[in-house]
Symmetry: C2
């Protein structure tokens, strides 16, 4: 079976957390964002699904994943599903819930990262809320980013298995997502993230482990992984890092 | 077995989504927020768990639930767990994922509701961000609240079973959470929510069904359900509803 991933073209966004899982597992998938519109892909294909009035399980927003007859939305929910299928999560009930709990905390963190440049809401342009973004980013840099990173560092350290991973003895989707967040923070807040990561040696090592994995390396080298850019959740505005 | 629910005392907050599930299922539980501090409850008991350096699965924030040896954090994750145990979710893989997907969309909605009064971040007081809250609330009232409510109304309508419920033929934790959101919006935005709910007859009926359930009625009558108040996620500031 071939999975179909639907997400906005042109950005990594929340879709990237799903892509990293599919790539690490070498799962067959079509990234609809990379299929040209004239071949039935791109944003129109995604919007056609979102707007289909006959769907019994309509997603609220992308990303969403088609897996045979299942249509699954919400990033963490997609990863919960793929974690089982692709062996990227523990098999015990407690282990599955714990892994998912961490992913939901990553999702909370990503909302706060996004809100540094959109404190007044998702619909106005950044240029209409620059002053407020500066104020929100101050609190984010000083308090929220260190708190989230410190939490994940503590979790990595408290994993009783002596591995680089967050959960248990094998790589999980949470490791891929944490590495992606570290990469994104380094793009968006080069100064503040460097300082916050100084006390997070486990997270720095985890980032390097993940992006050193053979399949992730060949994904990055393939050109399919887009570059970070300022239409995305992670945005590099120097005035918000200072 | 008796569940233990840990959450901040004095507010409904995210803990209330869990309480409604426990109450509807008549599950035995101790609400640690309601246990006096001198008897080992309240905020100190919760903070002691959060600060325990020996925990292998530390939660980032409340609410969290103790179920025998499991300690489960993240509201939607707790409900995923309880949905299976308390028969408040479908049993098929597709049904479980769809129910959870809706709960995660409710969680996104609750973040946006909270951010109407805290656009500059969770740590500053409302009084320090009143002007920004007014701007964020405009977008919320005009665009975001109608979009989320319209989505959930569409989902309720597209349920092929002819029931009042969002998912399948029986009540689920999502129904309880939607009813709670409708109640909260009516408290926080009496004018704007009335207008937005005019085109959502299914959600209005769902609210009445849920709060008419015998066990939910006796929970409300017991005094254990706290009143909405302005330390909570749903806050009534008339200047944000106008």
């Amino acid at each position: 079976m071939t999975y179909e991933l639907y997400y906005w073209p042109g950005i990594q966004g929340r879709g990237e957390f799903v892509r990293l899982a599919l790539e690490e597992a070498a799962a067959p998938y079509v990234d609809i964002a990379l299929v040209p519109e004239r071949k039935g892909g791109g944003a129109p294909a995604m919007l056609a699904v979102l707007g289909n009035p006959k769907l019994s399980h309509p997603p609220f927003a992308p990303p969403f994943l088609k897996a045979r007859r299942l249509l699954i939305g919400q990033t963490a929910n997609i990863l919960l599903f793929l974690g089982d299928r692709l062996h990227l999560a523990p098999r015990t009930e407690g282990g599955r819930l714990w892994t998912h709990q961490l992913q939901l905390t990553i999702a909370d963190f990503v909302v706060e990262i996004h809100d540094t440049h959109h404190p007044l809401g998702p619909l106005r342009y950044y240029e209409e809320q620059k002053r407020e973004a500066k104020r929100r980013s101050e609190e984010f840099r000083a308090q929220r980013m260190p708190k989230f990173l410190g939490y994940f560092e503590r979790v990595a350290r408290s994993n009783s298995r002596r591995t680089p991973w967050m959960v248990g003895s094998r790589i999980s989707y949470v490791d891929l997502s944490i590495a992606q967040v570290v990469a994104g923070l380094r793009y968006a807040f080069p100064q503040a993230s460097q300082q916050a990561l100084r006390s997070c040696p486990r997270l720095r090592a985890l980032h390097d482990e993940v992006f050193g994995r053979p399949r992730i390396r060949s994904y990055v080298a393939s050109g399919r992984r887009l570059a970070f850019n300022n239409d995305d959740a992670f945005r590099c505005y120097p005035e918000l890092d200072d």
